[in-house]
């Protein structure tokens, strides 16, 4: 699904998840969110990091 949101924002990611993804070298655009409204959660990033 296209999750580009205009008005200056990307898909809704929390700052903590964004930092974690940067630390783990995970590209958030490749992660499928399991949270509310398809939101990417920490667990999703950890899972993606494991699979890398």
């Amino acid at each position: 699904a296209e999750t580009e949101a205009g008005g200056g924002g990307e898909a809704y990611v929390t700052p903590l998840v964004r930092k974690l993804a940067a630390e783990q070298g995970v590209d958030l655009s490749t992660v499928k969110g399991s949270g509310v409204g398809g939101r990417i959660r920490k667990q999703d990033v950890q899972e993606a990091a494991r699979q890398q």
Partner: protein, 459 residues
């Protein structure tokens, strides 16, 4: 023959929190918008809800301060409440914000239509014979006070919150029917103003939607303030007497008072507006929507108190903004209603975000929790307030809920909201030391404790 009011990208029916927020955001996103309002833009919240009640609550705080000034070394004498002046102050705040909002709608070039609208097709609303065509329609007609079957309001002795906001005197005594948010807020105001107050609530607790720990703390605080509560006791009947009302409860006791405030909830404004006729699904008067707030009919959406989500102004804002962004194709994430902060502005305040311990257990979480007593918090001691900050977290996981009681804790829920919605671990909050001496430190201490590194914690 009906005249044409024009065609708009968005026609909003109802200019309250939900409706005007949608209108503002839609116009920002380049849409043409008509906002139809039969009374005053700002709706319940601005004219009969959030704002005027909080003005009363602040004047109640000033009254309490004056009454207890000696405790703080201030020599002052409390002489009473000047209800005319209270109303002037309250109306000034309301009219200032109303002017601001009206100006804003104008500045954003929203067509504000004054009049009562009715849905007359899946893409049109008619006001006094004039048709407003909308590529999208948003229903936001809000809610009004409810009562119980057989309990009739007379606006004098048996009143709703609408009437209570217009009183020209402080009642000597009041029975408040309903221990929810609106009931406890009015009870708190009147008590501070000097009235005898009794709250009657059928459920076993005040603010029953809150974590039980918060309800209990509020009940204790209200008891200390001399506010009586009849909990777990359904209302039976009321009759007017020579100088007031006599309220009888199901347990046979009766309470005499100057008036009865009926605060048993609010019902949606949805009858006779063409909703059902258009094929919109309704339940107990509430318009039913999917997670995109779409009604399932045409391009008709609905927001605010009209739909069965939390009846809060900021939920209306969030839903209004959501719909505007959704129809503009921005794909906003669905609203997580658990993540919406709730504040009850009585004295002491009650505030929460996320889920209660009980709900967490029901959802199968293994939880850890801590409750930080405000007795250990310097600023709360300075304010001489009692209460606690309770934090519920998933075991080895994020914070699931924050539940607080105490003066001014309503402002602390903003931080809690980020913690909950950003799924922070207690340790991530504990890493950041809060400013000293503030009440927010209590939130910090609770997270320090949950992270296994309590600082100013007494057992």
């Amino acid at each position: 023959m009906s005249e044409s009011g024009g065609t708009f990208d968005l026609v909003v029916l109802g200019g309250g929190s939900g409706g005007y927020a949608a209108a503002l955001r839609a116009s920002e996103l380049g849409m043409s918008v008509a906002l139809i309002e039969k009374d005053k833009v700002g709706g319940t919240c601005l004219h009969r809800g959030c704002i005027p009640t909080k003005a009363l609550l602040h004047s109640a705080e000033v009254a309490e301060n004056a009454r207890e000034s000696e405790t703080f070394g201030v020599r002052a004498t409390f002489e009473g409440i000047d209800m005319d002046a209270v109303n002037k102050y309250k109306d000034k705040v309301v009219s200032g914000l109303y002017k601001g909002l009206s100006g804003l709608l104008k500045a954003r070039q929203i067509t504000v239509v004054q009049g009562e609208g009715k849905l007359t097709g899946t893409d049109q609303v008619t006001v006094d014979g004039t048709v407003y065509q909308g590529r999208t329609i948003l229903l936001a007609t809000g809610s009004v006070p409810k009562t119980l079957p057989g309990l009739e309001l007379d606006g004098e002795r048996i009143i709703s919150s609408d009437d209570a906001l217009k009183l020209d005197r402080v009642p000597e005594s009041v029975v408040v029917l309903g221990g929810g948010v609106i009931g406890v807020e009015f009870a708190s105001v009147w008590r501070s103003y000097g009235a005898e107050v009794t709250i009657v609530e059928a459920l076993p607790h005040l603010v029953p939607a809150e974590d039980e720990a918060s309800s209990k703390l509020l009940e204790r605080a209200f008891r200390k303030r001399g506010i009586k509560s009849e909990l777990g006791t359904p209302f039976e009947s009321v009759k007017t007497t020579g100088d007031g009302v006599r309220v009888t409860l199901s347990n046979g006791t009766s309470h005499d008072a100057e008036m009865l405030l009926v605060a048993v909830g609010r019902g949606p404004v949805s009858e006779g507006l063409g909703y059902a006729e258009a094929g919109i699904r309704m339940e107990r008067g509430f318009v039913q929507v999917d997670e995109n707030l779409h009604t399932g009919v045409g391009n008709i959406y609905a927001v605010g108190d009209l739909i069965p989500t939390l009846q809060l102004a900021h939920v209306g804002f969030a839903e209004g903004i959501f719909v505007a962004e959704h129809i503009a194709g921005l794909n906003p994430p669905a609203i997580d209603y658990d993540g919406v902060p709730r504040v009850t502005y009585c004295e002491p305040e009650v505030a929460s975000v996320g889920i209660t311990s009980q709900t967490a257990r029901e959802r199968g979480y293994e939880i850890t929790e801590t409750s930080y007593n405000l007795a250990g918090n310097g600023k709360s001691q300075i304010l001489q307030t009692q209460g606690a900050v309770k934090v519920v977290a998933e075991k080895d996981g994020p914070v699931l809920g924050v539940h607080m009681v105490g003066s001014r804790v309503g402002e602390l829920v903003a931080e809690s909201q980020l913690i909950y919605n950003w799924e922070a671990l207690p340790a991530e909050v504990a890493q950041l030391i809060h400013p000293h001496p503030t009440q927010s430190e209590a939130l910090g201490e609770a997270h320090l404790a949950l992270a296994g590194k309590p600082l100013h914690v007494h057992d």
